[in-house]
Amino acid sequence: MRKSLSNRGLLPGFGMTMGYTIIYLSLLVLIPLSVLFLKASTMSWEQFIGTIMDTRVLASIRVSIMTSFFAACLNAVFGVLVAWVLVRYQFAGKRIIDGIVDLPFALPTAVGGIALTSIYAENGWIGQYLAEWGIKVAYTPIGIWVALTFIGLPFVVRTVQPVLQDWDLQMEEAAATLGATRWNTFWRVILPHLLPAIITGFALAFARALGEYGSVVFISGNMPLKTEIVPLLIMTKLEQFDYAGATAIATVMLVISFVMLLFINYLQWKINKFDAAR
């Protein structure tokens, strides 16, 4: 093994652990996903392009990416807020609130979807008041956004929380002695420090939302060109026993997600370097 490849430090056991990492990832991720590409490659290039460039497929890719992106944005803002409250303040029932954050992970997504639909439908608890304002949530892209926000909620909270817990209060005190306002301190001292964790949480929430099926099909209305998500189209292909078509769409989604995650990781790396340089 060449030295440059492993760039190893003094720690022994690199070869062993790296071997296990590769085997583990292969069994769980690489081999199953490579089967996807194999299945998709049974189509001719024209068929593949024809499947992907279909107006309904393109529309659903747009819907999926937009709603997932906005859901992750909302989670990035409010996730930080929730983490802040959980770390900085002591109050009764704190542990319960802390537990509630993880509920979207534990619930079957279909249950979440049905519950959200019944509340946000026009005759639901919240939906009826929104309807008076002319806002429709269930069976519109807004409904998809709500469902995807719901399932992505824990990610940002759980990535930001430990960073906030380890945060050294002396930094804030130093900022205060230098005459910074509270707002300035948050904006220029705390937030930059949290940014890598926020971006990680954002990326996780975003990636998770792209593939979400269970909760969305109940609240979206599944209208072609308007509220169809990519996973639903994959299901419709499977329903016609069109395995190749289904994997073609899945492959495109996989590539898009992977490129986006790479980009987000690159951003993080940039920020970390910038942080270290300061």
Binding site: T55, R56, T117, A121, E122, N222, T236, F241
Partner: protein, 334 residues
């Protein structure tokens, strides 16, 4: 036309071979079925097990699996070792036959197109029928909101679609273009396309969306009986489609498990008087004229056409209407 055979009250057992199987004291069957048959097959299994016990002394346990018809079919193709499949439409069993697990002429093996019970498509409206919905042509009027699932993901939705298409054909002297226009108009009135029949029922019943739900007859009855007769009523259109949910043995696995004999008896049991009674109890239309007559108020006489008559069978209908770039996709071209 095939009612003659199902009418006999005594079972007409398939050749009760004294060969393989039937010698051990316990046997297990796996019945892979679709969503709404859950309660029906629970009853069937109980009755059949006790009858089989009396007849052969053998204890039979029947395991069931339920889900969307297409998904269930894929499970069998991908290796779920079902002894029998009881699905929503022939197309889903054809797909299994296409993989060589079942002979291609499977549908000829049992009487009545291998469909021991049938169903049809009816309307569910809100109590008092405020929008005065009587027939298919009321569904395309402006301002009527229609609930039906997505034909690309739901077997039931395909029946709904074909029923509407058939009505338009029959009322326009077989003009396909007019039929397409009619169905396109109908789908313009659909605000939500749920992914399955149960989902649509929930949307209509629980969420209060829509003026009319196009549904399986048995699903409509369930909605009325479970959710209150004071909220909904069933409207029978002048014309509808005969839905034939077929049943068959998965030869490859039945032979592998040596369960052919008991699996055949199990499917035959569906044709017996007891099996037919249970079908009627769960609002599936029995094939047996005698049992059907006994339940007449529940199953009013609707003029029915079959998918073979108007669409040339499932495979053709699927390709023409629900395949990619098929007619249904055309309806949603921007």
């Amino acid at each position: 036309m095939a009612a003659a055979m199902a009418g006999c009250s005594a079972a007409v057992p398939a050749e009760t071979g004294k060969g393989a199987g039937g010698t051990t004291s316990t046997v297990e069957l796996l019945n892979v079925s679709y969503d709404p048959t859950r309660e029906f097959y629970q009853d069937i299994n109980k009755e059949f097990a006790s009858e089989w016990q009396q007849k052969t002394g053998q204890t039979v346990t029947i395991k069931q699996s339920h889900g969307g018809s297409g998904k269930q079919s894929r499970s069998v193709i991908d290796g779920l070792e079902a002894d029998v499949v009881t699905l929503a439409l022939a197309y889903d069993i054809d797909a299994i036959a296409g993989r060589g697990l079942i002979p291609a002429d499977w549908q000829k093996k049992l009487s009545d197109n291998s469909s021991p019970y049938t169903s049809t498509i009816v309307f569910l409206v809100r109590k008092g029928n405020p929008k005065q919905i009587k027939d298919w042509d009321d569904l395309i009027k402006p301002g009527i909101s229609v609930i039906t699932p997505n034909p690309k993901t739901s077997g039931g939705a395909r029946w709904n679609y074909l029923a509407a298409w058939g009505y338009a054909l029959k009322t326009n002297g077989g003009d396909e273009a007019k039929a397409q226009e009619f169905v396109a108009q109908l789908f313009k009135n659909v605000p939500v396309l749920d992914s399955g029949a149960r989902g649509s029922t929930t949307t209509f019943v629980e969420r209060g969306i829509g003026d009319v739900l196009i549904a399986w007859e048995n699903e409509a009855y369930l909605a009325v009986n479970e959710l209150g007769k004071d909220k909904f009523e069933i409207v029978n259109p002048s014309l509808s489609i005969l839905a034939e949910p077929p049943v068959t043995i998965v030869d490859k696995y039945a032979d592998k498990h040596k369960t052919r004999e008991v699996a055949e008896a199990y499917l035959q049991f569906l044709y017996t008087k007891k099996g037919q009674e249970l079908a009627a109890k769960h609002y599936y239309r029995p094939r047996s004229q005698e049992v059907l007559q006994a339940h007449t108020p529940a199953f009013p006489d609707i003029q029915l056409f079959t998918i073979d008559e108007l669409f040339g069978g499932w495979t053709k209908a699927q390709k023409t209407h629900f395949g990619d770039q098929g007619v249904f996709d055309q309806l949603y071209k921007p």
